[in-house]
Symmetry: C2
Subunit: 360 residues, 2 copies
């Protein structure tokens, strides 16, 4: 089959890790007789450099005309990038928020999985890791504080800034359905996280989630307050299967969960809308300090490409093959610097890409 893929190399290590993902996808094409055509799309810092803004209408149109978008990473070093002198709405991340909104990518899926081979990298003690943990965070991505009205005003010389956290029940229902559907294919448990003892939006969240749960009698639903969830991720990550939450809580908890695995260089993500179109990117950032040095771990991007094969292109077998190749290379003891440990074989970005492509 033929597929159109929009590639967003992005900033920092973005271009080099996307190149490795493409190498792996090329191998998938060869082996399974597909054809992927690529369009390079500018977003973030790269777009600011070329066009003065972090996302252009043209880039949106290119993304919309594709079957899927595969991205590296956006942003630079806040201390040194010239971009950070720009006002916030013109900075690299603004492009990320804009493309989420433009493509209506309301469902952000972030698996946080502990690879048994990488147990040593996990910051938690062995007793807590136990047989390992495997959760996925389903974060609402186009609502809440991120997209509510905001303004800063001044009265009598005193500035006041206001942000708005708003959700309607349709927004909550569609993300809840995603979470329950995913739970059904996993271990049948949804933990919905909110702050219902304080926020109206959380109380609405809870009531809609309970309503959706009625259609999934085979899935266990539990509610957890966000402060408690931040504790439980450290105390006992094994308890979680699917965590369902709103945008800001999801931002915080998914990063915490990824650090709890100890190998953020391994973690993929998918941002989906109601159609098949999705945006796929590693969970980690653009790591400008190691950009261009063949040091970055391309696995998170390669696994994001696997998610793309699965969710946007319906190529499950091919996705399985990519994931198996990553697993094989880990089992064989190859490691980039971020996941290196005693007795393993150190490799760079490109070598890691080659090894995974070869294993397909």
């Amino acid at each position: 089959m033929e597929y159109k893929i929009a590639l967003i190399p992005g900033d920092g290590i973005g271009p080099e890790i996307v190149a490795e993902a493409r190498k792996v996808l090329d191998k998938v094409c060869e082996k399974y007789s597909h054809k992927f055509s690529y369009t390079e799309v500018l977003l973030g810092g790269a777009s600011i450099d070329a066009h003065g803004v972090p996302l252009t209408e043209e880039a949106i149109a290119q993304a919309k005309a594709s079957d899927a978008v595969l991205m590296g990473s956006i942003g630079g070093d806040a201390k040194t990038s010239p971009w950070y002198k720009l006002e916030p709405s013109k900075r690299p991340e603004a492009g990320l928020l804009a493309i989420r909104k433009a493509l209506n990518l309301f469902a952000n899926l972030r698996p946080a999985y502990l690879y048994n081979e990488l147990r040593d990298a996990c910051p938690l003690r062995d007793e807590i890791i136990g047989d390992g943990f495997d959760m996925i965070i389903v974060r609402e991505l186009t609502g809440g504080l991120y997209f509510g009205a905001r303004k800063t005003t001044e009265e009598n010389g005193v500035r006041t800034a206001v942000d708005t956290l708003s959700y309607n029940e349709n927004e909550i229902r569609r993300i809840a359905i995603k979470a329950f559907e995913i739970a059904r294919k996993r271990r049948n448990k949804v933990t919905s996280v909110d702050k219902a003892n304080v926020l109206d939006s959380s109380r609405l969240w809870r009531s809609v989630v309970e309503d959706v749960a009625k259609d999934y009698p085979d899935v266990t639903l539990e509610h957890m307050l966000v402060d408690n969830c931040a504790m439980q991720l450290v105390r006992d990550p094994k308890q979680f299967d699917v965590i369902l939450t709103e945008n800001m809580f999801g931002d915080i908890l998914s990063d915490e969960a990824s650090m709890v695995t100890g190998s953020i260089g391994m973690l993929s993500s998918a941002s989906l809308n109601e159609t098949k179109l999705g945006l796929y990117e590693p969970s980690h950032g653009s790591a400008p300090d190691i950009a261009g040095q063949n040091k970055a771990n391309p696995i998170a991007t390669i696994l994001s490409a696997a998610m793309m094969l699965r969710y946007s292109l319906d190529l499950d077998k091919e996705a399985d093959a990519v994931e198996a190749a990553v697993q094989k290379v880990l089992t064989d003891g190859y490691r980039t610097g971020d996941i290196m440990s005693d007795g393993c074989k150190p490799v760079g970005t490109k070598e890691m890409g080659d090894l995974i492509a070869d294993a397909i």
Copy 2:
């Protein structure tokens, strides 16, 4: 000297842990020739049971007429308490929010400290703990999403809920000053946490904090995004001295930090206003499942009483004595169930209180 203390035993294990703190304070009185007079004040579930509401005007007046408020814990088990059938504004936690507002307790201080004796309880690996960590979270407590306007409306059968996150510069300035003052007495570092790449309130936060920092050239200021901070607390808690943040982020991060120590039964808190009056309570909850069984760890409450001696009563020497007594009892190997480990001596709530009082 003579001091008036409002005691709020609260719900669940509250009454028993407050009783032990009082035992320790009695010993302080005896040894240092002070007189503490106590007024019992109802808040939370206990107040709902007695008066139908979680906080009465009388209770506020009693608190205001005191030199300090010492509290147990508020709330019950959401699954079984009759309180949770009430609408949110009438539930136990509503009393907690109301008293914070009524007493203008804008500064919540939550130390997260790893006791060397309790290293085994820490969920993090030894390499990460290193020589231990010792941070304090300074959380803004009377602004932000907790106290902004909120409402739920319905249009064409679709409900929408809105909460508001608002800060003015005066609110930010006074909490920032607290953080810098505290940093000066510690290791001279403030990490201000926000989401300035998205929120207007965070951008105002950042600019006011930078302004305040100019008066503290001896204190290093760094900014950190909240999602990154949630990661860093797990990756390397040693890097933190004082964490300064707004209400909701502070709720999440302080709970995460307390779990990172592994001994939440040891962690105190203080909520302060511009006067000497403060409210002191353990960081942990009301643990209804073990209430009344002489199992609860009273140390967090006893250490909260020590904070009270220090911040509201200016009795530094006495506060030091209480902290030293806690340290001695730990060194001697006494442990309640929550912090028990091999070779230590198990004790109950009352015995722990006796041991600490005796050590003063």
